[in-house]
Symmetry: C2
Subunit: 200 residues, 2 copies
DNA sequence: TACACGGTTGTCACTCAGTGTCAATACGGT
DNA sequence: ACCGTATTGACACTGAGTGACAACCGTGTA
């Protein structure tokens, strides 16, 4: 299973990644055209030229096509949080870590806006999005717990959970307003205002 | 279509309510026995003695059987919030309004605990629950907006959204900890601690 | 080069949630 | 008793998701 002479990964893995992104692109195109719910997995499969069954092997659920990348994004946020100085306060560190979201690869404002509108406008996607954010919570809590002074005790600190959860909630509120205002306002500033309103 | 001599509502509406609660009871029993996802709508229908199709006429989705009552609960919270003195601060008013949740009719701690465990343990239910809470948000924001001093301007105040969203998030965190601790701790106290951690 | 192994693919068949339609029926007021 | 209407059950259908299986193709080995 180890690499032989090929540059980075075996051909199998490379084709898999290629197909995965191709599916993602085609699906998002259809979603933005006809809407998420109006697009069937069969249509996506036909578009890419694979069987419906294989499509499900690449993306376990239809939501995963849109929301799947949020898992690795969560890991990136966690890493960014870990990279912040240990003596930084929880809110400052979280704000800085969340800032790394804007630096996503291949970031396109108008595309992001369209996707955001679909996200906020489709109930099942909205729910799935919130649930993925719950996973982020669990990823970020340990670090915040350390910053609150308590040693890495086994007991999960309710304070850390509350802070992380509310920070992500503020991000969500900021994102919703950002979307509603056609992406004209600065997301970081909206986030700061939300936090200020809560902590004021 | 108006009432004639019958006490409160017409017989149609009364039987409908009766069937609705009967379905709810039977379904929750099955859910707690075999789990939410392992219970099919057909099993529930058979249990109650109605057709699958009719079951869907009472509850549009399987989630609604568990989460449906949250809609009216949200209205109750809003009414409780409206009933608070106008000069009370947003957080105090919200806390008091949320307190009314504990006074639900037919409240049984161990049953609530079992339901909560199912809620937090079933992804689709968790997501649906979060989405219902989003509706609460929209219900509560106008009142908080008034308390923040701004007149009933048409522009939705980001501050009000942030405060309401974070208050509900704190409630969720408190609820999760309450569930994890087998319902031993006081929910109100947990909520206060979460808020204190965020606003400290 | 030939072969064996393992992962991938397509096909078929299935379960289950949810929806539309339509005839039969039971209720409500007259 | 009678008429209009809401409710019900039966049937058929779509679409997401899953399991099983044979054919296939990349990968390391003889």
């Amino acid at each position: 299973m180890e690499v032989g002479d090929t540059g980075s990964l075996g051909l199998r893995e490379r084709t898999r990644r290629a197909v995965q992104t191709e599916i993602g692109d085609a699906a998002m195109r259809l979603f933005l055209e006809r809407g998420f719910e109006a697009t069937t997995m069969e249509q996506i499969a036909n578009e890419v030229g694979i069987s419906r069954r294989s499509l499900f092997r690449y993306f376990g659920t239809k939501e995963d096509i849109v929301l799947g990348h949020l898992v690795e994004t969560g890991l990136a946020v966690r890493d960014a949080l870990e990279a912040r100085p240990a003596d930084e306060g929880p809110w400052e560190a979280l704000r800085a870590a969340l800032e790394s979201l804007a630096l996503a690869p291949g970031y396109s404002p108008e595309r992001t806006l369209k996707i955001s509108k679909m996200l906020y406008g489709t109930p099942s996607l909205r729910a799935g999005h919130l649930e993925k954010r719950l996973r982020w919570q669990e990823l970020l809590v340990p670090n915040i717990q350390k910053r609150l002074g308590a040693g890495s005790g086994d007991a999960p600190d309710p304070r850390a959970r509350a802070i992380v959860a509310c920070a992500l909630t503020c991000l969500d509120v900021a994102g919703e307003i950002w979307t509603r205002h056609e992406g004209e306002e600065d997301l970081g500033r909206l986030f700061d205002r939300a936090v200020a309103a809560v902590r004021g």
